[in-house]
């Protein structure tokens, strides 16, 4: 009985935790016309701490799509992130940051929309978009 309770508790806890971190493997075709090969479009992906962004006025959530395919060229993208911080720094226990950038996306390239922070006194929050192939930061400032 004791073993059963332990197992039940473990499974319930696991389900409880993974339900908080859903992400989709669906691909969002955010360009008009027929489906084109990856070499002709740019691909956007969510970094670990980014849950949604707005590209050219269209909101995309991590829970809905894992990858977003867009036409190459300049696009306006807005994204942000929330971080838990010490209540000694911010009474709400949270801090947030957001950015809107015009970014030139190149066909055939894959980009990750990122957010991260440093910790401790004088912590900094960073938002950046990185070319997954070259590692080049195409917008924002990355956390070193």
């Amino acid at each position: 009985m004791r073993l059963f309770l332990r197992l039940a508790f473990t499974f319930i806890s696991f389900g409880f935790l993974v339900s908080c971190a859903t992400s989709s493997d669906q691909v969002y075709k955010l360009y008009p016309g027929k489906i084109r090969p990856d070499s002709e479009v740019a691909t956007l992906k969510f970094g670990p701490r980014v849950h949604e962004f707005i590209i050219d006025g269209m909101k995309v959530r991590r829970s809905d799509y894992g990858e977003i395919k867009i036409n190459e060229g300049r696009h306006e993208i807005s994204w942000g992130a929330e971080f838990m911080v010490s209540v000694m720094v911010n009474a709400s226990g949270w801090d947030e940051t957001s950015a809107t950038k015009m970014v030139e996306f190149v066909a055939g390239h894959s980009y990750t929309v990122n957010a991260d922070r440093t910790t401790g006194h004088g912590y900094q929050m960073y938002l950046w978009i990185e070319d997954a192939e070259t590692g080049e930061v195409v917008a924002g400032i990355n956390k070193q």
Binding site: F9, S24, Y28, K29, P32, M58, V60, Y65
Partner: protein, 487 residues
């Protein structure tokens, strides 16, 4: 068994009991949810009443999970309804992108989609909104506490008849509940899905019933998509209207010479077009406006304001002048080299402090001259010299020119290198390269640093080119750079 041993057993048991209770709370704590469906009155369906379809209202398949969920529930309530793939609908309706609802509702477009896909109705979902009400009680996160929170979720849908272009109805579903829970964690997990599920379920049923009532007029092929920005567009319109009225009123007052209105106008829209109001307020002695100019020259426009056609380079002398005119600190008497004469004055801001400490003797002398010569209108005259010329093909190069004219060492050095290497579309011109390196060296000497040219240009330039360069140097005056590069 010893007392310590008993405690060792009790602590894990207690923790396990707490966790089990917490987990069980998710399931057994009752969470009463009520839901309500509101159908808009007929007069509210007119575009002028509530739904203003602007170019910024987009049709989207972005909230995929929500669309899928509502679609499945609609079909479950009415099996006669046939769904059209939302992505296929979007791509057919918008062959060139754009995704604007206004464009879709153009008669030729909606008829084209309706006929091509044999679809009669379009259901557009608005974003699912969730609001938290007032909290009552206290809690210690991840520990014990008693908390009561009201929750409210809303979801709306617009049903459009694609053949007539009319809005059949606008439905709004809301669900509210009130949690009385023992643990903060349970509240977060339990509340949202229950009210959200209730609104999705309630709205889907209403959509199915409405479509069933419409079915006498033909088929029931339906596309379910979502609207992007409708709520934001409505809110934006309201805010924009208020803001425009406020700006209009401020502009009238500013034109009558009210310095506070002039300052507020600039702060509300800190654009290059409104720099004139900043200048006018500063001319009249507005302290904040003068301080703003001090900071603008301290940081330079690239770091402080995003201006398209005006480039303000860092200029400590002018920064000092405006801080001084603002009366924040008597920084004109403070130098690094003349420590004995420093006046201990309170600094108005970190920028004032840094300006006073960073200034060289030459910049201090220039600042003193500027302060003595200052008169109303100076601000405008300074900005007019910082305009980026219209025909500059390379704005970055135009900014370098302005900074170089302004005595910026780095910009002059850059121009020397650009003419030496022939970069940024500029042809190699060794005399001009030598001239800009010379002007850059002048800046360093003026600032008490060691001047000098890069060895490469000295090794490369011929005596004739050097002579030509000296002639250019003698004739040089601010504005030459733009003339050479863009005219």
């Amino acid at each position: 068994m010893s007392k310590t041993g008993k405690q060792r057993i009790r602590v894990p048991k207690l923790l396990t009991a707490m966790l089990i209770l917490q987990m069980a709370g998710c399931v057994i704590v009752p969470y009463p949810v009520s839901d309500e469906i509101v159908q808009a009155d007929e007069h509210e369906l007119l575009p002028s009443n509530g739904i203003e379809i602007t170019d910024q209202v987009y049709v989207t398949v972005g909230p995929r999970e929500l669309i899928d969920d509502v679609s499945k529930r609609i079909v479950k309530h009415n099996t006669d309804i046939k769904l059209v793939d939302p992505l296929l609908f979007r791509d057919t309706a918008f062959p060139n992108g754009g995704w604007s609802l206004k464009e879709l509702l153009e008669p030729s477009n909606r008829m084209h989609v309706s006929e091509k896909l044999d679809v009669q109705y379009l259901v557009l979902l608005t974003p699912l909104l969730h609001e938290e009400g007032e909290e009552e009680g206290i809690f210690i996160p991840l520990a014990f506490g008693a908390l009561s929170v009201s929750e409210n979720s809303t979801l709306s849908a617009i049903i459009i008849d694609l053949r007539s272009g009319s809005v059949v109805t606008r439905l709004s579903s809301s669900s509210s509940g009130h949690g009385r829970l023992l643990y903060y964690v349970i509240y977060i997990v339990a509340a949202d899905p229950m009210t959200e599920s209730a609104v999705i379920s309630g709205l889907s049923e209403s959509i199915a019933q409405t479509l069933a009532a419409e079915s006498h007029s033909g088929g029931l092929h339906v596309a379910v998509l979502a609207l992007e920005n409708l709520e934001e567009a409505l809110q934006y319109r309201e805010e924009t209207t208020k803001r425009e009225e406020n700006l209009r009123s401020l502009r009238e007052t500013a034109e009558q010479g009210d310095q506070e209105a002039q300052w507020t106008l600039f702060k509300m829209e800190p654009t290059e077009g409104n720099l004139i109001w900043l200048c006018r307020a500063a001319d009249q002695g507005h302290v904040n406006a003068r301080n703003e100019l001090g900071e603008l020259y301290f940081y330079g426009s690239d770091k402080y304001l995003e201006l398209d056609n005006v480039y303000i380079p860092e200029d400590l002398a002018r920064s000092c002048m405006w801080f001084n005119l603002a009366g924040y600190a008597d920084i004109t008497w403070q130098t690094d080299t003349d420590v004995d004469k420093q006046t201990p004055v309170p600094y108005g801001s970190p920028e004032v402090e840094r300006t006073s400490r960073a200034m060289t003797a030459a910049e201090l002398a220039e600042a003193k001259q500027l302060i003595e010569a200052w008169k109303p209108g100076q601000c405008d005259r300074d900005f007019s010299r910082l305009m980026i010329i219209d025909n500059a093909k390379d704005p970055a190069l135009a900014r370098i020119c302005i900074a170089a004219d302004h005595g910026d060492y780095s910009a002059r050095d850059d121009l020397g290198r650009i003419y030496f290497l022939g970069s940024r579309g500029v042809k190699v011109d060794l005399p001009r390269s030598y001239m800009w390196y010379s002007l850059a060296a002048d800046v360093r000497v003026t600032h008490g640093q060691k001047g000098g040219y890069t060895q490469t240009i000295c090794d490369t330039i011929t005596p004739e080119q050097r002579a030509s360069s000296l002639q250019l140097l003698e004739a040089w005056k601010p504005g030459e750079c733009e003339k050479d590069l863009f005219q």
